[in-house]
Amino acid sequence: MNEVHTIQISQETVNEYALISGDDNPIHQNSSFARDQGFDGTIVHGMFVLSLMREYFSVHTNFDDQSKLVLNARFKKPVYVGEEITFLVENKEKIVAKNSKNEVCVDVSKPNI
């Protein structure tokens, strides 16, 4: 498997995710607040990135089995709103999201159970 998918996550969709999830942390929606916290701008909810990855790979690969889901995610670097992010399959049990510097921002594994 070598599925690759590149996306940019807009502030509008982040705001919508905040409404759906109830996670209204301003670090995701208020650029001034995010900068005060040491970031370059608003960052995407980790759970939203995970959701995007899961939905993409569940449709395009056999990474996911809906009926017995177990996922472990690590949020290693922030994903910025508007930043180009690439999802790719590392192996049959691990998918990652990388930024334009080729840094892994999120890795998701599906352990054997």
Binding site: E16, S21, G22, F48, R54, Q66, V70, F75
Partner: protein, 134 residues
């Protein structure tokens, strides 16, 4: 709510959460999912990441965990499917609460139960609260 009372072993939230069909459709719209993938016997089932995300968002709101908190790890394990329109009971428990310098490291486990009392979802979230002045 004053967040500083939280300690290891504390149950911080015991709350009912509705996962509506509207939630599912809106969630799939923003996350790139396909409604057809979540149709089961002509009813929508709730994506596990929606359950986990909404439970986490609810927990953060209920506990008063400071704005600016960072999410570092997430485990999700689903045991049963849940139909849209269901109310689930959320139980959130702090399993780790360590403070180093001005940073606090929290692990919060969330369990969601259906109306039959069955555990449908388990999540474990690692959180970092920086520059703690609370």
């Amino acid at each position: 709510m004053d967040f500083t009372w939280i300690s290891e072993g504390t149950s911080v939230v015991n709350k009912e959460i509705l996962f509506s069909e509207e939630d599912i459709v809106r969630f799939l719209s923003v996350s790139g999912g396909e409604v057809s993938s979540y149709m089961h016997e002509e009813a929508l089932v709730v994506p596990s990441t929606l359950m986990a995300g909404k439970a986490l968002g609810t927990m953060l709101g209920e506990t008063g965990i400071p704005k600016g908190t960072l999410h570092t790890t997430q485990k999700i394990q689903q045991f049963h499917s849940v139909s849209g329109g269901s109310n689930l009971i959320m139980e959130a428990i702090v399993t780790k609460n360590k403070k180093r310098a001005d940073t606090r490291f929290l692990t919060i486990e969330i369990r969601l139960y259906n109306h039959r009392g069955e555990k449908v979802l388990f999540t474990s979230s690692g959180l970092i609260i920086r520059s703690e002045s609370i």
